[in-house]
């Protein structure tokens, strides 16, 4: 089968593309190589994916001939996005509307006339915002606290709308803080491990007691494949790691893995940051058979190992 993976040179897209290629599918990868972090990281990701069955183009989804791209395609995995909560305020918001909302709408529009069996959209736990209502449930309140979260929620709503109005078989997956090898260099674990490796102080925003439901990349990939094969559509699922951990606990684990003590630099809480996240996984477990397998300590060890490989 032919699968389209948008954001195929990115953190999650590259892992997903690899998994699909290894399962014998053809992967039509698209990536814009957004300048949100150095290009060499994405090129490194892509080099790992490179194998027979991969077709890859560097392009902006808004500009290319999407009906042609979807010709003969069975599954669309829409992973491409302008990431980052903190950078989504102010002037930069135009990038978020273009890359997160408009690109998704164009892809959905093209999907109307295609014969795709599933359009899997990579949404985000940031759609929930700073709720006191934990764990976060799919039918709970969505009130993002960052423009990024607003853009992801908008695109998710478009996915639902195209299902309802035109029968495009969409499923949205709300990812909870994904980590693992190839993690973006602007994400906390990456920043933390990089600094720790060099013996530098680690910036910790807030007091370190904030917690996240950290999810290993391979589990997210499995969730995507399960969503593609899921017979239903027009639905939303949380994909979380299954346990909530504080940033402080993560620091302790990395100290154990690396065998050295971390230096911490406590900084003020950032605008748009959510205090706690925790995913209710009942829906994903019962309908998708989703079952996060990788424990945080093991996943962190894998990311640490990768970090040694890519060097500085």
């Amino acid at each position: 089968m032919i699968c389209v993976v948008t954001g195929a040179a990115g953190f999650i897209g590259s892992h997903l593309a690899e998994k699909l290629l290894d399962a014998g599918h053809t992967v039509r990868g698209v990536d814009k190589f957004l300048g949100n972090y150095p290009r060499r990281f994405k090129e490194w990701n892509l080099a790992q994916v490179h194998r027979p069955g991969l077709e890859f183009i560097e392009a902006d989804l808004v500009d290319i001939d999407l009906p042609a791209l979807l010709d003969g395609v069975t599954y669309v995995f829409h992973q491409a996005a302008q990431p980052g909560v903190r950078s989504s305020w102010g002037e930069e918001f135009g990038e978020y509307t273009h890359n997160n909302i408009l690109a998704t709408q164009r892809l959905l529009e093209a999907s109307k006339k295609s014969k795709i069996k599933k359009f899997v959209y990579a949404s985000s736990s940031s759609v929930y915002g700073d709720t006191q209502d934990l764990p976060m449930r799919e039918n709970g309140m969505t009130r993002p606290v960052s423009p990024y979260g607003v853009s992801k929620l908008s695109a998710e709503q478009l996915c639902y709308l195209y299902w309802k109005e035109f029968g495009v078989p969409t499923v949205s997956l709300r990812y909870f803080t994904v980590y693992g090898p190839r993690q973006r260099p602007d994400m906390f674990f990456h920043i933390f491990m990089r600094a720790h490796r060099r013996g530098q102080a680690i910036p910790i925003y807030d007091d370190g007691k904030q917690s996240r439901d950290f999810t290993f990349c391979a589990d997210i990939v499995d969730g995507n494949v399960a969503a593609a094969e899921y017979p239903g559509a027009g639905e939303v699922f949380n994909l979380g790691g299954g346990s909530r951990t504080t940033v402080e606990e993560v620091v302790r684990m990395v100290e154990q893995i690396s065998g050295k003590k971390a230096k911490l630099n406590m900084l003020a809480r950032q605008q748009g940051d959510v205090r706690h996240t925790a995913a209710a996984l009942d829906e994903a477990r019962s309908k998708l058979g989703f079952n996060p397998r990788v424990k945080l300590y093991d996943g962190l060890a894998q990311e640490w190992e990768w970090m040694q490989k890519i060097g500085d």
Partner: protein, 56 residues
């Protein structure tokens, strides 16, 4: 890994959405209407208007 014919067939000029063709050297995709060449680097067609090379 060479670019597959199938992939080449689905690509259009991102500016005018018109047809493009491979250069004889295989190092780019040309849109005659816009007089732009989209480079192919490491077997990856770069279909970005900003990256396109203006043809004389």
């Amino acid at each position: 890994m060479p670019i597959s014919q199938e992939l080449l067939e689905i690509l259009v000029c991102p500016k005018c959405k018109g047809d493009i063709h491979l250069t004889p050297a295989g190092d780019g995709l040309v849109c005659e209407a816009c007089r732009l060449m989209y480079p192919i680097r490491d077997d990856i067609p770069i279909m970005l208007i900003d990256e396109a090379i203006k043809l004389g």
